[in-house]
Protein backbone atom coordinates (compact mmCIF):
# COMPACT_ATOMS: atom_id res chain seq x y z
CA UNK A 1 0.00 0.00 0.00
CA UNK A 2 1.23 3.44 -0.82
CA UNK A 3 1.02 6.21 1.76
CA UNK A 4 -1.97 7.70 -0.08
CA UNK A 5 -3.91 4.45 -0.04
CA UNK A 6 -3.06 4.05 3.65
CA UNK A 7 -4.41 7.52 4.42
CA UNK A 8 -7.58 6.85 2.42
CA UNK A 9 -8.14 3.54 4.23
CA UNK A 10 -7.56 5.24 7.58
CA UNK A 11 -10.06 8.02 6.83
CA UNK A 12 -12.71 5.67 5.43
CA UNK A 13 -12.23 3.25 8.34
CA UNK A 14 -12.47 6.08 10.86
CA UNK A 15 -15.62 7.43 9.22
CA UNK A 16 -17.13 3.94 9.22
CA UNK A 17 -16.49 3.56 12.95
CA UNK A 18 -17.94 7.00 13.72
CA UNK A 19 -20.98 6.34 11.51
CA UNK A 20 -21.59 3.05 13.34
CA UNK A 21 -21.27 4.82 16.71
CA UNK A 22 -23.74 7.52 15.67
CA UNK A 23 -26.15 4.90 14.33
CA UNK A 24 -26.06 3.15 17.72
CA UNK A 25 -26.60 6.42 19.59
CA UNK A 26 -29.55 7.36 17.36
CA UNK A 27 -31.12 3.94 17.83
CA UNK A 28 -30.69 4.19 21.60
CA UNK A 29 -32.26 7.65 21.70
CA UNK A 30 -34.99 6.77 19.26
CA UNK A 31 -37.73 7.49 21.84
CA UNK A 32 -36.43 11.01 22.45
CA UNK A 33 -36.05 11.82 18.77
CA UNK A 34 -39.75 11.15 18.24
CA UNK A 35 -41.41 14.54 18.00
CA UNK A 36 -44.88 13.24 18.80
CA UNK A 37 -46.74 10.10 19.80
CA UNK A 38 -49.65 8.74 17.78
CA UNK A 39 -53.04 7.88 19.32
CA UNK A 40 -52.23 4.17 18.83
CA UNK A 41 -49.04 4.55 20.86
CA UNK A 42 -50.98 6.31 23.61
CA UNK A 43 -53.66 3.61 23.68
CA UNK A 44 -50.98 0.94 23.98
CA UNK A 45 -49.39 2.93 26.84
CA UNK A 46 -46.16 3.73 24.98
CA UNK A 47 -46.49 7.43 25.68
CA UNK A 48 -45.00 8.79 28.93
CA UNK A 49 -47.48 9.39 31.76
CA UNK A 50 -47.23 12.25 34.20
CA UNK A 51 -45.01 14.42 32.02
CA UNK A 52 -45.49 16.72 29.08
CA UNK A 53 -45.33 15.11 25.65
CA UNK A 54 -46.71 15.73 22.18
CA UNK A 55 -49.60 14.02 20.49
CA UNK A 56 -49.77 13.97 16.69
CA UNK A 57 -52.33 12.83 14.15
CA UNK A 58 -55.30 14.01 12.15
CA UNK A 59 -58.12 16.12 13.56
CA UNK A 60 -61.11 13.81 13.31
CA UNK A 61 -63.75 15.17 10.94
CA UNK A 62 -66.77 16.59 12.79
CA UNK A 63 -65.10 16.38 16.20
CA UNK A 64 -64.20 20.04 16.75
CA UNK A 65 -66.38 21.77 19.35
CA UNK A 66 -65.74 25.40 20.21
CA UNK A 67 -66.95 27.20 23.32
CA UNK A 68 -65.36 30.62 23.30
CA UNK A 69 -61.62 30.00 23.54
CA UNK A 70 -62.16 26.47 24.84
CA UNK A 71 -61.84 23.94 22.07
CA UNK A 72 -62.24 20.20 22.20
CA UNK A 73 -61.51 17.82 19.36
CA UNK A 74 -60.40 14.26 18.72
CA UNK A 75 -57.07 13.28 17.19
CA UNK A 76 -57.00 10.11 15.14
CA UNK A 77 -54.43 8.00 13.31
CA UNK A 78 -57.34 6.08 11.68
CA UNK A 79 -56.81 3.17 14.12
CA UNK A 80 -57.25 4.90 17.50
CA UNK A 81 -58.50 8.30 18.67
CA UNK A 82 -57.64 10.50 21.63
CA UNK A 83 -59.80 13.34 22.94
CA UNK A 84 -58.04 16.70 23.32
CA UNK A 85 -59.05 19.73 25.36
CA UNK A 86 -57.41 23.08 24.67
CA UNK A 87 -58.04 26.70 25.44
CA UNK A 88 -56.34 29.29 23.29
CA UNK A 89 -55.93 30.45 19.73
CA UNK A 90 -55.58 27.77 17.07
CA UNK A 91 -53.21 28.20 14.10
CA UNK A 92 -54.76 29.15 10.76
CA UNK A 93 -54.06 25.78 9.21
CA UNK A 94 -55.89 23.91 11.98
CA UNK A 95 -58.69 22.10 10.14
CA UNK A 96 -60.73 18.94 10.45
CA UNK A 97 -59.10 16.12 8.54
CA UNK A 98 -55.69 17.85 8.62
CA UNK A 99 -52.56 17.12 10.61
CA UNK A 100 -52.09 18.47 14.12
CA UNK A 101 -49.45 18.26 16.86
CA UNK A 102 -50.52 19.13 20.41
CA UNK A 103 -48.26 19.46 23.44
CA UNK A 104 -49.61 18.71 26.90
CA UNK A 105 -50.33 15.94 29.38
CA UNK A 106 -52.64 12.96 29.38
CA UNK A 107 -55.21 13.08 32.18
CA UNK A 108 -56.42 10.04 34.14
CA UNK A 109 -59.74 10.35 32.33
CA UNK A 110 -57.95 9.74 29.02
CA UNK A 111 -58.38 13.33 27.84
CA UNK A 112 -55.23 15.00 26.54
CA UNK A 113 -54.95 18.52 27.98
CA UNK A 114 -53.02 20.57 25.44
CA UNK A 115 -50.97 23.64 26.33
CA UNK A 116 -49.99 24.30 22.74
CA UNK A 117 -51.52 23.24 19.42
CA UNK A 118 -49.54 23.32 16.16
CA UNK A 119 -50.81 22.55 12.68
CA UNK A 120 -48.80 19.97 10.76
CA UNK A 121 -48.66 20.56 7.06
CA UNK A 122 -48.33 17.65 4.64
CA UNK A 123 -46.00 17.43 1.65
CA UNK A 124 -48.74 18.16 -0.91
CA UNK A 125 -48.64 21.49 -2.71
CA UNK A 126 -51.51 22.14 -5.09
CA UNK A 127 -53.73 24.95 -6.38
CA UNK A 128 -57.27 25.28 -4.90
CA UNK A 129 -58.91 23.87 -8.06
CA UNK A 130 -56.87 20.69 -7.75
CA UNK A 131 -57.70 20.43 -4.05
CA UNK A 132 -61.43 20.74 -4.80
CA UNK A 133 -61.11 18.06 -7.49
CA UNK A 134 -59.33 15.71 -5.08
CA UNK A 135 -61.98 16.34 -2.43
CA UNK A 136 -64.78 15.68 -4.91
CA UNK A 137 -63.14 12.44 -6.04
CA UNK A 138 -62.72 11.28 -2.42
CA UNK A 139 -66.37 12.07 -1.68
CA UNK A 140 -67.53 10.24 -4.80
CA UNK A 141 -65.44 7.22 -3.77
CA UNK A 142 -66.97 7.27 -0.27
CA UNK A 143 -70.47 7.52 -1.73
CA UNK A 144 -69.79 4.60 -4.03
CA UNK A 145 -68.45 2.55 -1.12
CA UNK A 146 -71.57 3.35 0.93
CA UNK A 147 -73.87 2.43 -1.92
CA UNK A 148 -72.08 -0.86 -2.43
CA UNK A 149 -72.41 -1.72 1.26
CA UNK A 150 -76.19 -1.23 1.29
Amino acid sequence: MTIKQKRLALILGGLGVIAAAIALVLTAFNQNLVFFFTPSQITSKEAPTGRVFRLGGMVEAGSVKRDGVNVSFRVTDTAQTVAVAYSGILPDLFKEGKGVVAQGTLGDDGVFRAKEVLAKHDENYMPPEAATAVERATKAREMAAKTLKQ
Binding site: L15, I22, L93, K95, E123, P128
Partner: protein, 254 residues
Protein backbone atom coordinates in the same frame (compact mmCIF):
# COMPACT_ATOMS: atom_id res chain seq x y z
CA UNK B 1 4.40 -1.66 -28.10
CA UNK B 2 0.64 -1.44 -27.57
CA UNK B 3 1.24 -1.51 -23.89
CA UNK B 4 3.54 1.44 -23.83
CA UNK B 5 1.01 3.38 -25.83
CA UNK B 6 -1.64 2.53 -23.26
CA UNK B 7 0.70 3.61 -20.51
CA UNK B 8 1.46 6.90 -22.13
CA UNK B 9 -2.29 7.48 -22.56
CA UNK B 10 -2.86 6.86 -18.86
CA UNK B 11 -0.04 9.19 -18.08
CA UNK B 12 -1.60 11.86 -20.27
CA UNK B 13 -5.01 11.47 -18.63
CA UNK B 14 -3.33 11.72 -15.27
CA UNK B 15 -1.48 14.81 -16.33
CA UNK B 16 -4.72 16.49 -17.41
CA UNK B 17 -6.23 15.92 -13.98
CA UNK B 18 -3.15 16.97 -12.09
CA UNK B 19 -2.70 20.08 -14.17
CA UNK B 20 -5.83 21.65 -12.68
CA UNK B 21 -4.83 20.51 -9.20
CA UNK B 22 -2.20 23.23 -9.40
CA UNK B 23 -3.39 26.65 -8.19
CA UNK B 24 -1.52 28.34 -11.05
CA UNK B 25 -3.46 26.41 -13.70
CA UNK B 26 -6.82 26.56 -11.97
CA UNK B 27 -6.73 30.28 -11.14
CA UNK B 28 -7.69 31.49 -14.66
CA UNK B 29 -10.18 28.61 -15.17
CA UNK B 30 -11.86 29.48 -11.86
CA UNK B 31 -12.24 33.05 -13.11
CA UNK B 32 -13.99 31.86 -16.26
CA UNK B 33 -16.30 29.52 -14.33
CA UNK B 34 -17.09 32.35 -11.93
CA UNK B 35 -18.14 34.75 -14.70
CA UNK B 36 -20.35 32.20 -16.43
CA UNK B 37 -22.02 31.28 -13.15
CA UNK B 38 -22.71 34.89 -12.13
CA UNK B 39 -24.57 35.43 -15.42
CA UNK B 40 -26.45 32.14 -15.04
CA UNK B 41 -27.35 32.93 -11.42
CA UNK B 42 -28.81 36.34 -12.33
CA UNK B 43 -30.81 35.04 -15.30
CA UNK B 44 -32.13 31.95 -13.55
CA UNK B 45 -33.10 33.93 -10.45
CA UNK B 46 -35.10 36.38 -12.58
CA UNK B 47 -36.88 33.58 -14.43
CA UNK B 48 -37.37 31.47 -11.30
CA UNK B 49 -38.80 34.30 -9.21
CA UNK B 50 -41.07 35.38 -12.06
CA UNK B 51 -42.48 31.87 -12.44
CA UNK B 52 -42.65 31.49 -8.67
CA UNK B 53 -44.50 34.72 -7.98
CA UNK B 54 -46.59 35.28 -11.10
CA UNK B 55 -47.15 31.94 -12.83
CA UNK B 56 -47.34 29.37 -10.02
CA UNK B 57 -50.82 29.12 -8.46
CA UNK B 58 -51.76 29.80 -4.84
CA UNK B 59 -51.58 26.76 -2.58
CA UNK B 60 -54.94 25.29 -1.54
CA UNK B 61 -54.27 25.13 2.21
CA UNK B 62 -51.41 27.56 2.89
CA UNK B 63 -52.36 30.42 0.58
CA UNK B 64 -49.54 32.71 -0.59
CA UNK B 65 -47.13 31.96 2.24
CA UNK B 66 -46.09 28.68 0.60
CA UNK B 67 -44.06 30.71 -1.93
CA UNK B 68 -41.21 30.73 0.56
CA UNK B 69 -40.31 27.24 -0.72
CA UNK B 70 -38.78 28.83 -3.83
CA UNK B 71 -36.03 30.12 -1.52
CA UNK B 72 -36.27 27.73 1.40
CA UNK B 73 -35.94 24.39 -0.39
CA UNK B 74 -33.05 25.35 -2.75
CA UNK B 75 -31.18 26.90 0.19
CA UNK B 76 -31.67 23.79 2.32
CA UNK B 77 -30.54 21.54 -0.53
CA UNK B 78 -27.46 23.68 -1.18
CA UNK B 79 -26.57 23.70 2.52
CA UNK B 80 -26.45 19.88 2.41
CA UNK B 81 -24.78 19.53 -0.99
CA UNK B 82 -22.09 22.10 -0.18
CA UNK B 83 -21.28 20.32 3.06
CA UNK B 84 -20.74 17.07 1.15
CA UNK B 85 -18.58 18.87 -1.44
CA UNK B 86 -16.61 20.51 1.35
CA UNK B 87 -16.06 17.15 3.04
CA UNK B 88 -15.07 15.59 -0.29
CA UNK B 89 -12.38 18.22 -0.96
CA UNK B 90 -11.19 18.12 2.64
CA UNK B 91 -10.84 14.34 2.36
CA UNK B 92 -9.06 14.64 -0.99
CA UNK B 93 -6.68 17.13 0.58
CA UNK B 94 -5.93 14.80 3.48
CA UNK B 95 -5.33 11.78 1.25
CA UNK B 96 -3.48 13.35 -1.68
CA UNK B 97 -1.96 16.31 0.10
CA UNK B 98 -3.02 18.69 -2.67
CA UNK B 99 -3.01 22.37 -1.73
CA UNK B 100 -5.92 23.35 -3.95
CA UNK B 101 -8.28 20.79 -2.36
CA UNK B 102 -8.06 22.47 1.04
CA UNK B 103 -8.52 25.89 -0.52
CA UNK B 104 -11.61 24.54 -2.29
CA UNK B 105 -13.19 23.32 0.95
CA UNK B 106 -12.36 26.61 2.71
CA UNK B 107 -13.93 28.50 -0.19
CA UNK B 108 -17.16 26.48 0.08
CA UNK B 109 -17.71 26.77 3.84
CA UNK B 110 -19.02 30.37 4.14
CA UNK B 111 -21.51 29.87 1.28
CA UNK B 112 -22.73 26.66 2.90
CA UNK B 113 -23.18 28.43 6.22
CA UNK B 114 -25.15 31.22 4.53
CA UNK B 115 -27.39 28.63 2.86
CA UNK B 116 -28.04 26.93 6.22
CA UNK B 117 -28.98 30.29 7.79
CA UNK B 118 -31.28 31.14 4.87
CA UNK B 119 -32.98 27.74 5.12
CA UNK B 120 -33.50 28.06 8.89
CA UNK B 121 -34.61 31.68 8.69
CA UNK B 122 -37.11 31.29 5.87
CA UNK B 123 -38.34 28.10 7.54
CA UNK B 124 -39.03 30.03 10.75
CA UNK B 125 -40.89 32.76 8.86
CA UNK B 126 -42.99 30.09 7.16
CA UNK B 127 -43.51 28.11 10.36
CA UNK B 128 -45.15 30.96 12.25
CA UNK B 129 -48.20 31.38 9.95
CA UNK B 130 -48.57 27.68 9.05
CA UNK B 131 -47.58 25.64 12.10
CA UNK B 132 -48.23 28.37 14.63
CA UNK B 133 -44.62 28.61 15.85
CA UNK B 134 -41.27 29.93 14.64
CA UNK B 135 -39.25 27.12 16.07
CA UNK B 136 -39.62 23.55 17.32
CA UNK B 137 -36.92 21.09 18.31
CA UNK B 138 -37.86 18.35 15.89
CA UNK B 139 -35.29 16.10 14.22
CA UNK B 140 -35.23 17.91 10.85
CA UNK B 141 -34.84 21.41 12.24
CA UNK B 142 -32.41 20.47 14.99
CA UNK B 143 -30.14 18.53 12.63
CA UNK B 144 -30.12 21.51 10.23
CA UNK B 145 -29.09 23.77 13.11
CA UNK B 146 -26.28 21.30 13.86
CA UNK B 147 -25.24 21.57 10.20
CA UNK B 148 -24.90 25.34 10.65
CA UNK B 149 -22.81 24.85 13.79
CA UNK B 150 -20.58 22.38 11.91
CA UNK B 151 -19.93 25.02 9.24
CA UNK B 152 -19.10 27.60 11.91
CA UNK B 153 -16.89 25.12 13.77
CA UNK B 154 -15.09 24.20 10.57
CA UNK B 155 -14.34 27.84 9.73
CA UNK B 156 -13.32 28.66 13.30
CA UNK B 157 -10.95 25.70 13.55
CA UNK B 158 -9.39 26.41 10.16
CA UNK B 159 -8.70 29.98 11.27
CA UNK B 160 -7.47 29.01 14.75
CA UNK B 161 -4.01 27.83 13.68
CA UNK B 162 -1.16 30.14 12.75
CA UNK B 163 0.24 27.30 10.67
CA UNK B 164 -2.27 27.09 7.79
CA UNK B 165 -1.36 23.47 7.07
CA UNK B 166 -2.29 22.42 10.60
CA UNK B 167 -5.57 24.33 10.28
CA UNK B 168 -6.28 22.56 7.00
CA UNK B 169 -5.84 19.12 8.51
CA UNK B 170 -7.72 19.80 11.75
CA UNK B 171 -10.70 21.40 10.03
CA UNK B 172 -10.79 18.62 7.42
CA UNK B 173 -11.59 16.18 10.22
CA UNK B 174 -14.63 18.25 11.28
CA UNK B 175 -15.75 18.36 7.64
CA UNK B 176 -15.44 14.58 7.26
CA UNK B 177 -17.01 13.58 10.56
CA UNK B 178 -19.80 16.16 10.19
CA UNK B 179 -20.71 14.75 6.76
CA UNK B 180 -22.53 11.97 8.62
CA UNK B 181 -25.07 14.62 9.66
CA UNK B 182 -26.17 15.20 6.05
CA UNK B 183 -27.97 11.87 5.51
CA UNK B 184 -29.45 12.29 8.99
CA UNK B 185 -30.97 15.63 7.92
CA UNK B 186 -32.24 14.18 4.67
CA UNK B 187 -33.87 11.08 6.17
CA UNK B 188 -34.94 12.65 9.49
CA UNK B 189 -38.50 13.16 8.25
CA UNK B 190 -38.64 9.49 7.31
CA UNK B 191 -36.95 7.91 10.33
CA UNK B 192 -38.75 9.84 13.06
CA UNK B 193 -42.00 11.66 13.54
CA UNK B 194 -41.33 15.35 12.95
CA UNK B 195 -43.39 18.49 12.69
CA UNK B 196 -41.60 19.19 9.42
CA UNK B 197 -43.43 17.58 6.53
CA UNK B 198 -41.93 14.79 4.43
CA UNK B 199 -40.15 15.40 1.12
CA UNK B 200 -42.41 16.75 -1.61
CA UNK B 201 -39.79 15.96 -4.23
CA UNK B 202 -38.22 12.54 -4.24
CA UNK B 203 -36.22 10.91 -7.01
CA UNK B 204 -38.80 10.01 -9.66
CA UNK B 205 -41.89 11.53 -8.06
CA UNK B 206 -43.26 14.73 -6.64
CA UNK B 207 -46.39 15.79 -4.78
CA UNK B 208 -46.38 19.36 -6.08
CA UNK B 209 -48.30 21.12 -8.82
CA UNK B 210 -46.17 21.25 -12.00
CA UNK B 211 -45.62 25.02 -12.23
CA UNK B 212 -44.72 25.16 -8.54
CA UNK B 213 -42.20 22.39 -9.10
CA UNK B 214 -40.76 24.16 -12.14
CA UNK B 215 -40.29 27.40 -10.25
CA UNK B 216 -38.56 25.52 -7.46
CA UNK B 217 -36.26 23.65 -9.84
CA UNK B 218 -35.28 26.83 -11.72
CA UNK B 219 -34.53 28.49 -8.40
CA UNK B 220 -32.47 25.43 -7.44
CA UNK B 221 -30.31 25.86 -10.55
CA UNK B 222 -30.03 29.58 -9.77
CA UNK B 223 -28.79 28.71 -6.28
CA UNK B 224 -26.32 26.21 -7.74
CA UNK B 225 -24.96 28.87 -10.09
CA UNK B 226 -24.71 31.43 -7.28
CA UNK B 227 -22.95 28.98 -4.97
CA UNK B 228 -20.43 27.93 -7.62
CA UNK B 229 -19.74 31.56 -8.53
CA UNK B 230 -19.29 32.59 -4.89
CA UNK B 231 -17.06 29.60 -4.17
CA UNK B 232 -14.89 30.27 -7.25
CA UNK B 233 -14.52 33.91 -6.27
CA UNK B 234 -13.49 32.94 -2.76
CA UNK B 235 -11.16 30.27 -4.14
CA UNK B 236 -9.35 32.86 -6.24
CA UNK B 237 -8.99 35.06 -3.17
CA UNK B 238 -7.62 32.06 -1.26
CA UNK B 239 -5.12 31.36 -4.03
CA UNK B 240 -3.94 34.98 -4.06
CA UNK B 241 -3.59 34.93 -0.28
CA UNK B 242 -1.72 31.64 -0.04
CA UNK B 243 0.47 31.85 -3.11
CA UNK B 244 1.26 35.51 -2.63
CA UNK B 245 5.01 35.00 -2.98
CA UNK B 246 4.94 33.11 -6.27
CA UNK B 247 6.08 34.47 -9.61
CA UNK B 248 3.10 33.13 -11.65
CA UNK B 249 0.67 35.06 -9.47
CA UNK B 250 2.52 38.34 -9.91
CA UNK B 251 2.31 37.58 -13.60
CA UNK B 252 -1.42 36.68 -13.48
CA UNK B 253 -2.71 39.65 -11.52
CA UNK B 254 -0.48 42.23 -13.17
Amino acid sequence: MARTEQQSNDKFAGRWFWRYASPAAFYPLAGKIENVCWVLACLLTLVGLYVGFFVAPTDATQGEVYRVIFIHVPAAWMAMVIYLAMAFWAGTGLVLGTRLSFMMSHALAPTGAIMAVVALWTGALWGRPTWGTYWVWDARITSTLILFFLYVGYMALAAAFDDKKKGDRASALIALVGAINVPIIYFSVKWWTTLHQGSSVRPGSSSMATTMLWAMLIMTFAFWAYCVAAAMHRLRTQIIERESGSAWLREAVK
